[in-house]
């Protein structure tokens, strides 16, 4: 038990609210430091308990009863009580309105999945190059990849012709890109990362007006 926890438990023990009073009693009996802290708390507590209550003014009771007989101040009724909830509701509505407005005003007209042609081919091709450089075997595993040699990756470094080679590779795939079923079959054979990379390549083709 750390110091803070010990003090909490001793304080609760003093008040008769300890979770395990037997354990605390034993601790106070056997542990000198615990006993010192407990005695200190007990002394202070006794002093606070001895504080004299104030003498309440004899007219206090009469004043209170006069106060409760007074009519409630104007505006203290339902209007006053409704004011805060109304203000909160108004604020929530304003914030919600602002959120909807800003979302509509600044959101793109369509998501990246809406049209491949709207995607950034430069960034996607860069992703493709990275992918091919780092793990050409991923495409091999999908049964659609060329050997790494055809990309000039023997050295492990991307060649200057990598981009062009990648495009040639896609062009050589036995897939009809105008046929959605073919595309779905191809994409379905890839894992998420491979699919993303291939999409990038296809976007690039789309940007160039390439068709099979």
């Amino acid at each position: 038990m750390n110091g803070k926890r010990l003090r909490e438990e001793l304080s609760a023990f003093l008040d008769g609210e300890a979770a395990d009073p037997d354990r605390m009693a034993r601790l106070v009996r056997e542990d000198a430091e615990a006993r010192r802290v407990y005695d200190e708390m007990r002394r202070t507590s006794a002093q606070v308990k001895r504080l004299q209550p104030p003498t309440v003014d004899p007219s206090f009771h009469t004043r209170v009863m006069a106060g409760v007989r007074e009519p409630e101040p104007v505006g203290y009724g339902w209007i006053h009580r409704a004011l805060i909830p109304a203000a909160v509701a108004l604020t929530v509505l304003m914030v919600a309105g602002l959120f909807v407005y800003s979302r509509d005003a600044f959101a793109p007209t369509s998501g990246p999945e809406g049209s491949w042609a709207e995607m950034d081919p430069g960034a996607l091709m860069a992703a493709l190059e990275t992918k091919l450089t780092e793990s050409p075997e991923a495409f091999e595993a999908a049964g659609i990849a060329p050997t790494s040699g055809s990309f000039g990756l023997e050295s492990g470094e991307p060649s200057d012709d990598l981009r062009e080679s990648a495009l040639d590779w896609v062009a050589g795939l036995p897939v009809d890109y105008s046929n959605e079923t073919d595309l779905d079959t191809l994409l379905g054979s890839l894992n998420e990362e491979e699919e993303e990379t291939l999409r990038a390549m296809l976007v690039d083709y789309a940007e160039r007006g390439w068709t099979t």
């Binding site: 803070k4 003090r7 909490e8 001793l10 304080s11 609760a12 008040d15 609210e17 200190e40 708390m41 002394r43 202070t44 507590s45 002093q47 606070v48 308990k49 001895r50 504080l51 004299q52 209550p53 104030p54 003498t55 309440v56 003014d57 206090f60 009771h61 004043r63 209170v64 009863m65 106060g67 409760v68 007989r69 007074e70 409630e72 203290y76």
Partner: protein
């Protein structure tokens, strides 16, 4: 009406029996004023706050349900009003809250920071030291300490009044006791 339970008196008061509410005031005026006085310092301010607490409870009477002790409702109201008072007087300066007794009484406690009581007159001086140390605690520590030590309330009731968990009451009380001890040492009461 002495032996009538609190909520029975509340029910009668809800039905328009002012004598029953008068009995509730009589029953709780001393502890509520005492609680307020330990929280804000001055007896006059404490009486004003206690009076307002009773008046507000009376106005909420028809919405009260016997789900907790009546004392929890009443002390909860008094607690909210004392915290408002402390917050407001804190903005305006703390002078008024430092007066520990009725302002028209002569035995106002000396609050000089360098005050070192003579050990031969310990009894009343110890009380003034404790009072001074109490006023130096934060309101959240002071309230749990007063509710426990002065009012003798259990942790669950205190938790209901200050609207927190019983575990929080437990840790706050331990911390309050540590803080009180430290303030006493600062004031020269380290042998207490």
């Amino acid at each position: 009406m002495t032996g009538v339970p609190d909520w029975e008196l509340v029910a009668r008061a809800q039905a328009g029996d002012m004598h029953s509410f008068a009995e509730l005031v009589r029953r709780y005026q001393d502890p509520v004023v005492h609680f307020c006085q330990r929280m804000v310092g001055s007896v006059d301010d404490a009486e004003d706050i206690a009076q307002e607490s009773f008046v507000r409870v009376y106005r909420y009477l028809n919405r009260l349900r016997p789900e907790a002790k009546f004392s929890t409702v009443l002390f909860g109201m008094a607690r909210n009003l004392t915290l408002n008072f402390i917050r407001d007087t804190g903005r305006r300066g703390r002078g008024k809250t430092r007066s520990l007794t009725r302002e028209d009484q002569s035995q106002t406690v000396v609050l000089d920071e360098a005050y070192r009581p003579d050990r031969s007159a310990r009894l009343s001086e110890i009380e003034s030291l404790i009072e001074q140390a109490l006023t130096r605690l934060s309101p959240e520590h002071r309230e749990v300490l007063v509710l426990r030590e002065v009012q003798g309330l259990d942790y669950e009731t205190i938790a209901g009044i200050v609207k927190c968990r019983v575990g929080t009451v437990k840790s706050r009380l331990a911390r309050a006791r540590d803080q009180l001890r430290a303030r006493l040492v600062e004031l020269g009461g380290d042998e207490l």
